[in-house]
């Protein structure tokens, strides 16, 4: 067994010998290694006949990474994926809603009545917890079941490194690491995964720059919000046959805005608190591989869609209970929820949102997935809509996007509210899982706080500016 002194002696010998062997030992070792590798590989590999004249990989690469076509192709693909998701999710969404909300929910209430549940128990379990879960499933499952396989197919094909290649010069200009494009892409699936993937970046400075703006990539939990609100408020402004495309364009706009903020925040950080030069790196453009379609669909459904959905359900069930409770516990005449909404309203309306949205974001800190269900429920509660739902705190039956739109409009929502909700959904604090992951990866309370609060501050600022501009026009 060693004692510290022998360890120190060895190190002393090493530093003494280092003078003898000279400083180019690293280079000479690497040269020897490379020479051996080249010799062995050369002996083993033979080229059978001529290289095929038409190299498909090269041709595709020239197109998708070219200066003029690279970006339009990227945007076009993104818009196509969005449009397929929006257009495809509508019908299964309303089918699921009518099954879970119109059929199963009344059935459950009947069972509770037969078993003589007290009103608060059936309220908490069925009107709170069950409905929150049913809502999450019907709103989230269809878009995810379409979006994830499409995204995974693009990933399997080998498109992501090309995106990184295209974005590299922007990240370099922002003083950040080019691989940040990859961590950002991961963030579009899940922000926490994006934060972890920043490990591919060597320098701690650049890793921090990559981690802090991860939140500006819209994650799984926020895609449905973006898609739904874009469909209701932006798509409806256009003629019906254009509605799908216009909504898709609005979502793409939000994505671009997120990328813009990623660059902006990286740029500011690399010029202020995290000064330094961008380091060089080599990015391998892997060969295009024909995606294994069935396997991809299977794994992205099982691994991504169901896992994300499960997480959403787990968070939605207690949130449903909270919503039901704050809607039914009364302080004076109004409920706790109504007090809170009224309390938030002045500030919220000033920045073009409303109290319901702010309260929903607070309830939904554990998971962004449940923002929309919470917003809808609180809206009905606050506007005391008659005929919808069957009591305070019930997430009522809305079996189509039109019905959702009607509720929101009745709640005083305008196009401005919709636009600002989309912006606020992009620019607000990361979910609790992501915050915890940031802490685990950076081991810094300071930077975790920055990464948490900076997006909220930006969100409030941008919403305020948009509201001012909107009202001025």
């Amino acid at each position: 067994m060693s004692t510290p002194s022998t360890g120190q002696e060895i190190l002393n010998t090493a530093s003494k010998l280092r003078w003898d062997v000279g400083s180019n030992i690293h280079d000479s070792l690497m040269e020897a290694l490379y020479a051996d590798a080249a010799r062995i590989a050369d002996k083993a590999v033979t080229r059978a006949g001529e290289q095929p004249r038409f190299d498909l990989d090269r041709t595709i690469d020239r197109l998708v990474t070219s200066r003029w076509a690279g970006f339009p192709i990227m945007l076009g693909l993104l818009a196509l994926v969005m449009w397929l998701t929006i257009a495809g999710a509508n019908v299964p969404s309303s089918l699921l809603a009518s099954l879970l909300l119109d059929q199963v929910h009344p059935a459950l209430r009947n069972v509770a009545a037969v078993l003589h549940f007290p009103w608060w128990l059936s309220g908490l379990l069925i009107d709170g917890m069950y409905l929150a879960m049913a809502w999450v499933v019907s709103v989230m499952l269809p878009p995810m079941a379409i979006f994830f396989p499409l995204f995974t197919l693009a990933e399997d094909f080998g498109y992501l490194p090309r995106v990184a290649f295209n974005l590299d010069r922007f990240f370099k200009k922002a003083g950040a690491h080019g691989k940040q494009a990859l961590t950002m892409s991961m963030g579009y699936g899940c922000n926490a995964a994006g934060v972890v993937s920043a490990r591919v970046i060597d320098s701690p400075r650049e890793r921090l720059i990559a981690i802090i703006p991860t939140n500006f990539a819209i994650c799984n939990g926020r895609w449905p919000t973006q898609i739904l609100i874009a469909t209701i408020f932006i798509g409806s402004l256009a003629a019906p046959h254009w509605a799908g495309l216009v909504s898709a364009a609005a979502v793409v706009g939000i994505v671009l805005m997120g990328i813009g903020f990623t660059f902006l925040v990286s740029w500011v950080l690399s010029r202020t608190w995290l000064k330094g030069e961008a380091s060089a790196f080599s990015l391998e453009l892997p060969p295009y591989r024909p995606p294994r379609i069935l396997q991809t669909i299977y794994t992205s459904l099982i691994d991504r869609t169901l896992i994300v959905l499960w997480r959403a359900v787990i968070f939605a069930v207690p949130a449903g209970a909270v919503i039901w409770l704050i809607s039914n516990i009364k302080v004076g005449q109004p409920s706790v929820a109504e007090h809170l909404i009224q309390w938030f309203d002045p500030v919220a309306l000033f920045i073009g949102l409303n109290g319901v949205i702010l309260l929903a974001y607070i309830i939904a800190i554990p998971a962004n997935e449940i923002v929309i269900p919470t917003v809808l429920m609180l809206t009905v509660l606050n506007t005391k809509m008659a005929g919808l739902g069957s009591g305070a705190g019930v997430m009522f039956e809305l079996d189509s996007i039109d019905a959702t739109a009607n509720v929101l409009r009745a709640g005083g929502w305008t196009v401005l509210t919709g636009v600002n909700l989309m912006i606020f959904s992009l620019l607000h604090n990361p979910c609790s899982t992501t915050i915890y992951t940031i802490y685990k990866e950076t081991r810094s309370a300071k930077w975790t706080t920055v990464a948490t609060l900076m997006p909220v501050a930006l969100g409030i600022l941008v919403c305020f500016l948009v509201a001012q501009l909107w009202r001025a026009l």
């Binding site: 070792l29 590999v45 059978a48």
Partner: protein
């Protein structure tokens, strides 16, 4: 089943793959530890999935795996724990993912290391393979992506490679499941000592360096008796690698030297605490 039956069947390829039980994450009581190393985007995670039956997410871009994924399988009655390491181009750099891979190979002391290489980019992939061979003895080279290699009009002579590298070489196309049975049986042969590797080591080093390395290696072995890859540690010390300097200073290396259990579990735990 009678024993004569078993010996007859054991030579049949169908029997051997049938001996594979994918254990998923059930890693209890393993007999051997297997490490999966290689350059980024060579299909390590795909090999990992086809052996364990897990569905570690794979993606066609370098850097997909940034932390270790672990799984298990059982083959011919022996239980294997397999660790999917992040892809790296070298074992010298300092980024977190490369350090995870290197620390595992050095301190985790896997019983077998499978180096997954992209057969169509052999030369660059061998740079890493040779570095791994400097650290560890028991290695199987998995010559992956053979389908792409053939499509690109290249032929790779796996026997010439095996001769030059001194370790068994198995051509595979993991995405199609091609060559996985052969990989398994070779892996088992190396783990059980039925195949003994004589890995390629760098020879062409200057005389002055050689003397320095020998002196330092002697001192290291005196301080840490039984230290495997002492030569490699000596080289790293001469280059002033901070992680290795730290391991000498704190006596962490003695954990490696004093290790008696054949399954690497003790050393593994040390790494797990460190990560």
């Amino acid at each position: 089943m009678s024993s004569t039956h078993a010996t007859e069947c054991a030579t049949c390829p169908a029997y051997r793959i049938a001996n594979l039980t994918k254990l998923g994450v059930d890693m209890a009581n393993h007999d051997f530890v297997v490490g999966l190393a290689g350059n980024p985007n060579t299909g390590k995670s795909t090999v990992f999935n086809s052996l364990t039956g897990l569905r570690q997410h794979t993606g066609n871009w370098p850097g997909k795996t940034v932390s270790r994924a672990e799984g298990a399988f059982s083959y011919e009655g022996k239980r294997y724990k397999i660790v999917d390491l992040p892809g790296t181009y070298s074992l010298l750099s300092t980024s977190t993912d490369e350090e995870i891979a290197r620390d595992f190979l050095l301190f985790g002391q896997p019983d077998v290391t499978v180096i997954v290489v992209d057969a169509s980019r052999l030369e660059r992939n061998l740079n890493l393979a040779l570095q791994v061979l400097e650290i560890t003895d028991r290695v199987v080279l998995c010559l992956n992506l053979m389908d792409e290699t053939r499509r690109r009009g290249l032929q790779v002579d796996d026997r010439s490679l095996a001769r030059d590298l001194g370790v068994p070489v198995v051509p595979t196309s993991a995405r199609q499941g091609e060559g996985i049975p052969a990989l398994l049986s070779t892996l088992a042969d190396v783990a059980n000592g039925r195949i003994v590797c004589r890995p390629h080591r760098l020879k062409s080093e200057p005389a002055g360096l050689k003397r320095a390395v020998e002196q330092l290696t002697g001192q290291l072995l005196a301080a840490f008796p039984g230290l495997p890859n002492a030569r490699w540690v000596a080289l790293r010390l001469l280059e002033g690698d901070p992680r290795i300097v730290e391991a000498v200073q704190t006596g962490e290396l003695s954990n490696l030297a004093g290790r008696v259990t054949p399954d690497g579990s003790r050393a593994l735990n040390i790494i797990q605490e460190a990560v």
